[in-house]
Symmetry: C2
Subunit: 140 residues, 2 copies
DNA sequence: CAACAGTTTAGAGTTATTCTAATCTACATT
DNA sequence: AATGTAGATTAGAATAACTCTAAACTGTTG
């Protein structure tokens, strides 16, 4: 049986990452890490919905705060790009570098970055695009 | 001197892609393709600002419509991911497949997809992340 | 040049996320 | 154990990037 991670374990996890074990963080951590090794992808909205269903008193703002705190602590990894969409007049396949400080997007010289092993799509589906975005930022 | 692409050339470009050469599309095409081979990245907002500065009467909605039409026509390539951010409890480096029909994000088996030739960041900068997102969708 | 399909538009609506500033709480210290 | 306070939470407003709607306009075809 998939037993829920104990409060004690969760508390220790938070403490180990310098996060005060508040009621809200405990609840969210239990949803995110029900047991060691359990992997999942979650959006802020989905997590908020789960927390709400579980009658945890947690606001959406707290879900966002917590997800970012957990990410900073290394408990989560964020997957996304700048929310803006760029349109590139270069229509040949190539990849991009995004300067997070300025928002500037530049092409990666084609051929420099190689990508192999793109999975075959299931029958009836097609790969619409493969985007590689290397994000760079000034050192703190 | 970098001469602006003539109206004639622009008109032909649009016609060749089954797009009526309206005043608005002509203006935007000239901004996007000032001369053959000129490559650039542009956001809807930035293009709208350019068009506005050039005193072209073009609405923001038209800029969006036009960018998408040009993309469908193959004149542009869109660079972005789903606007939502996902948080992944798997913090080890790996890449993702996004099912565009359902919004479901799944991990790519590590090792399957290999990435080589990631550029060295300029001094003082660091690579914050390298995201590879393979997008799939059901065939039309 | 009439007619209509295709296009444009202002402004409202949506979605995902961040901000604000007031309230609350964990916990180190008394 | 009570207290002080830095840290945390919250409701709701604000923002950003689009998308939608439905009315007005325009290229093109006959």
């Amino acid at each position: 049986m998939a037993k829920k991670q104990s409060s004690e374990v969760t508390r220790d996890l938070l403490r180990a990452h310098d996060l005060r074990p508040t009621r809200q963080r405990m609840a969210l951590a239990k949803l995110l890490f029900p047991k060691p090794g359990h992997k999942q992808h979650v959006t802020a909205d989905a997590l908020f919905a789960q927390a709400t269903k579980a009658k945890t008193g947690v606001s959406l703002a707290t879900v966002y705060n917590t997800l970012h705190q957990f990410t900073e602590a290394g408990l989560l990894r964020e997957v996304s790009v700048s929310s803006a969409t760029y349109f590139d007049t270069n229509t040949s396949p190539h990849h991009h570098v995004l300067d997070e400080d300025t928002g500037m997007l530049t092409d990666l010289k084609p051929g420099r970055l190689a990508l192999t092993g793109i999975p075959r799509p299931p029958r009836g589906s097609q790969v619409t695009s493969v985007d590689v975005i290397v994000r760079m930022r000034k050192k703190a």
